[in-house]
Each structure stands twice: as C-alpha cells, then as structure tokens.
Amino acid sequence: MQVAVASGKGGTGKTTVAVNLAHVLAEEGPIQFLDCDVEEPNAHLFLHPTLHEVREVNIKVPVVTRARCTGCGKCAEVCAFHAIAVLGEKALVFPELCHGCGSCVRVCPAEALHEEPRRLGIVSRGSAGRIDFVQGKIDVGTALAVPVVKAVKRAAGAGDAILDAPPGTSCPVVATIARSDYVLLVTEPTPFGLNDLKLAVELVREMKIPHGVVLNRAGIGTDEVWEYCRREGIPILMRIPFDRRFAETIARGRLIVREFPDWRQEFRRLWERVQGGGRG
C-alpha cells in the first residue's frame, strides 16, 4: 500500500507524521520511505539514513548544430514552452524552460538538433534501520521538480511505502500522490490550515484518491476544521495536540515516537485505520 502524506499549507507537520509513522511500521516489517518534497527534502534530518546510491536525474534538451540550422523556425513553432527561438537567423535554446518533450528534434527538417542530458537533481537511496529510504533533491536554481519526483517514485519497489509530499496543490503534489492508495492530509486548526485543507481536499477528490485528515497542533485556534470535516464526511484519523515539548522535539530533529513512546500506539492505530480504508 502506498500512502502519501500531503497538505495544502506548508509547515503543518507532513514530515513529522510521515517519519514517525515509518519508524513505528519498521518495528514490524520492511517499509519504504519516499521523500518526494524534492525542493526541500527534510525526512533525512529525522531518520538519518545511510545513503549508498546516488543517481542523477536528467532530461534531454536540444542542442543546435549551427552549421546545419537554416533558421526555418519550425522548432520554435512547435515548442509549447518557448524554450527555443530563432535569433540572428539560427535557433537558440533556453534549456531552463525546456521540458524535454523532443518535439523540436522530431520536426527539424535539417537535422540540426540533437539532444543532450541536462541535470535537474539527484535521487539518493539508502536505509535507516529497516526503512528503505529514497529521497529526491533538485539542484538549486532548477525550476522543474516533477521529473525528480517521478524518478523517486520509479525507485520504489512493491510493498508498503510512505510518501512525503511537497506543500501546495500544483504539479509536484499531483506527481507525488498520483496512483497512491491513500492520502493523509495533515492540517492545523487555524484559518490558514482550513483554507489550504479545502484546496487539498478538492485535489484528492478530483483525483479520486481515498483520504483522511490528521489534525496537528490540536487545541490552538478554533473548531472550524473539525466542523468542516464532519460536514464533508472526511474522517479525522488522528489528533496531535499542541504541546511545546513536541515542538522542541521536532525542532531538534528527533522523533516523537522515540521521546514519547506512548505515541507509538497512536501511530500504529493511524496505520490500521488507513489500511481499513480510513473511515474514522
């Protein structure tokens, strides 16, 4: 079963839920952890994996052989991303805009274009105890996160996996949660948390993925999240109260289930609920 941990709003506790859940599950059997927040991957700060394999993630971008280019402009015409233009009678490529679709190369009548790899980031693999750990990381200055997210997911094997998603509701989140069996939406009881939860719910409903809510920092703010979930029939599978000791534990990169062993049972129960279809 692949379970993605997501949220519209950043900083609600996605990584906290994902790493503590993985740690508890690893006590019972093998579990994979996929850090798909490739812009700012943080799970390694809590799980301290030993990484033994690093692979580059590349896309293929066009390169112009100027001697062959006739400046006909067909390449620029087919490029949906404005990544190639004819300037000074020759084609010029803007690699940072290119998605690597290959249309320009296919359409060039003069065979003046070929493709070369452009690095977007890396995927690292390793283990943290019994956790099989994979993380993606885009290079600073790279705008394209989706190919790196997909590379992380390709590295996964069969069996249970926890996916730590990036914040937001746009394409990197879609790439992460696509084909997941369940999405845990982590939120907090504030107006920001509620607003962004509604957006995340809209997304998982559109993608038809079963989902439930983890309410973090319960006790601050208002009951509005609870009322919204009840009205919409979305199960709240777990509540983590606001507790300064939890905040300090997380700040230092430690696990709640280690510092407060009573919570191991809570995370196990969360997994059981998810496996049972997450109906509260």
Partner: protein, 291 residues
C-alpha cells in the same frame, strides 16, 4: 519602485504573518500574494474583490475517441507517459500526467488529438484597508503556477505605477522551484523568514543559495526564536559566516497566534513582544530598501 519578496524555503515558518504585519506598517504599497497554490494573505486582509480575471493554462491534450484508431503513436512520442491504452484498444490521455507539449497532437496520423484551452485559475485585484492586493487561485492540480505568479506580479506592478506606490510586498510560495524562481526574478530584496529547527535551517540554506544564484540581496529573520534558542544561535552564526545581515528575532507570542487565528494582521492594536519585534523588523527592511 521597490519590490520586497518574503520567502522561507520550509513552509509554515510565518511568511504570511510577516507579510500581514508589513501590510499594516508600510505606507504607500501594493500587496501581491504569490503563493498561488495555497494563498492565505487574503484571510488577514479581508479584501473586497474589484476585478476577477481568468488565468489560461497551457492546454492539455485530449483524444477524440471516435477518431482514434489505437495505433499507439501518441504513446510512442510522449515522454511523460500520459497516453494509456484503454480496454477497447483506443488511447486516452491522463490529464494529470500531460505537460501540454503537443508532441502527440503533432504526431497523431488521424488528427484525433486536440488541446482545448482551459481556465486553470483566476487572479484578482482587490481593495483592502491597507491598500491594493493582487492575489490568485490556481485550480488544485494545475500546472504553471510560475506563470500565474508572473501574472500576479505584472498586475501588481501596473497598479503600483498607476497609484504612485513605491513598494510592492510579495508573499512568496514555499520551496525553491518554479513558482519561487518566478517570484524572485528582478526583486530588490528577499526577506527569508525561518524558524529554529533542523528543517528550517536546512531549507534556509537552500533558499539563500537560490537568492544568491539570481543575485538578489537577502535578509533573514528568525521566527519563534525562543522555542529553541541554541538553534537560533546556530542559524545566526551561519548568517555571520555567510555575511548575511540578521534582520532580527521574533519571539513565539501567543498573541500573534491568536491574531492570525482571528484573521487579523499581527501588529494591529497589539503591544506584545511579538508585535514589537515585527515593527522593528519592518524598520530594518525599510532602511535596507532605502525607503
């Protein structure tokens, strides 16, 4: 006209709280919420929407089933695995995988693939009691958030020029990818709001590298600094080593939490330690921007 961008790398460190406070403190300015997939600034500013505009996304491919012969050319050319064979032998495009490159439409021998234009979100020009606000809403699951960010910034610059404002305050998205780069290009100053945690520190370093990559000056403020004083010290040491001026510390103040929960900017009518720290932070930013 100056442009100030508020970033954090890690989400939830307090970008919008700071932006909301600056909205109340800065004189003639335009506010721009560029966290287009999870925009929250409007919750603090109670905007009255004056104009609503459609945001057209890059179209996605769609196959007309009656014209599809099931030849599989689309699947052969697509590098994003979007076309998939259906039980009846025809192909269908998964809109969540399609990147809109048109390769399949160009290659299809039956002309069965079209890319209809779609509305992928909206952007708004609003009035608030603190001045004009440009904000947006991307339809959840859509691409091109960078393009929508650019649209919000363009509209904010137009309003600022028209109304004679000398500052645009941009509330940025988390991360360091496409929408952040779109929010960052050409601004005068980035204020990074971080928090004293291992994750906050890790993400801060990546966002500082990004700002430097684009040659934009950076200031860094530590929010909730007293939740982990030792980590705050470590972050400030990193800033000194990198020759980045520390812009100040904001304490964990229940008054700020309550203000946000009530949907109010954190400094309005408040005198606590958190509000004082935000006022001091605004002074530092103002001086740095030479306003």
């Amino acid at each position: 006209m100056k442009q100030l961008l508020i970033l954090s790398g890690k989400g939830g460190t307090g970008k919008t709280t700071v932006a909301g406070a600056f909205a109340a403190l800065a004189p003639k300015k335009v506010l721009a919420d560029c966290d287009v997939d999870a925009a929250d600034l409007h919750l603090l500013l109670a905007p009255e929407v004056v104009e609503t505009h459609d945001f057209k996304a890059l179209p996605k491919a769609a196959i007309e089933p009656l014209k599809c012969t099931g030849c599989g050319t689309c699947a052969a050319v697509c590098r994003f695995d979007a076309p998939a064979a259906q039980p009846d032998g025809r192909y269908r495009i998964d809109p969540f995988l399609c990147e809109g490159c048109r390769a399949c439409a160009l290659a299809c021998p039956s002309g069965a693939i079209d890319l209809p234009e779609r509305v992928a979100g909206h952007w708004f020009l609003s009035r608030t009691r603190f001045g004009p606000l440009v904000h947006a809403r991307l339809v959840p699951g859509e691409e091109n958030s960078g393009k929508l960010v650019a649209q919000v910034r363009r509209a904010a610059a137009e309003v600022a020029a028209k109304e004679g404002c000398d500052l645009i305050i941009i509330d940025g998205p988390p991360g360091i990818g496409c929408p952040v780069i779109s929010a960052l290009t050409g601004v005068d100053l980035v204020l990074v709001v971080t928090e004293p945690s291992v994750a906050g520190r890790h993400d801060l370093e990546r966002v500082v590298k990004l700002a430097r990559h684009f040659g934009v000056p950076v200031l860094v403020a530590v929010n909730k600094w007293d939740l982990a004083p030792a980590l705050t010290e470590a972050i400030e040491k990193y800033l000194r080593d990198e020759e980045i001026p520390p812009a100040g510390r904001i304490p964990f103040d229940p008054e700020l939490v309550a203000a946000t929960a009530a949907g109010l900017p954190a400094v309005e009518g408040r005198r606590g330690e958190g509000a004082k720290a935000l006022i001091a932070l605004w002074e530092t930013v103002r001086r740095t921007l030479e306003l």
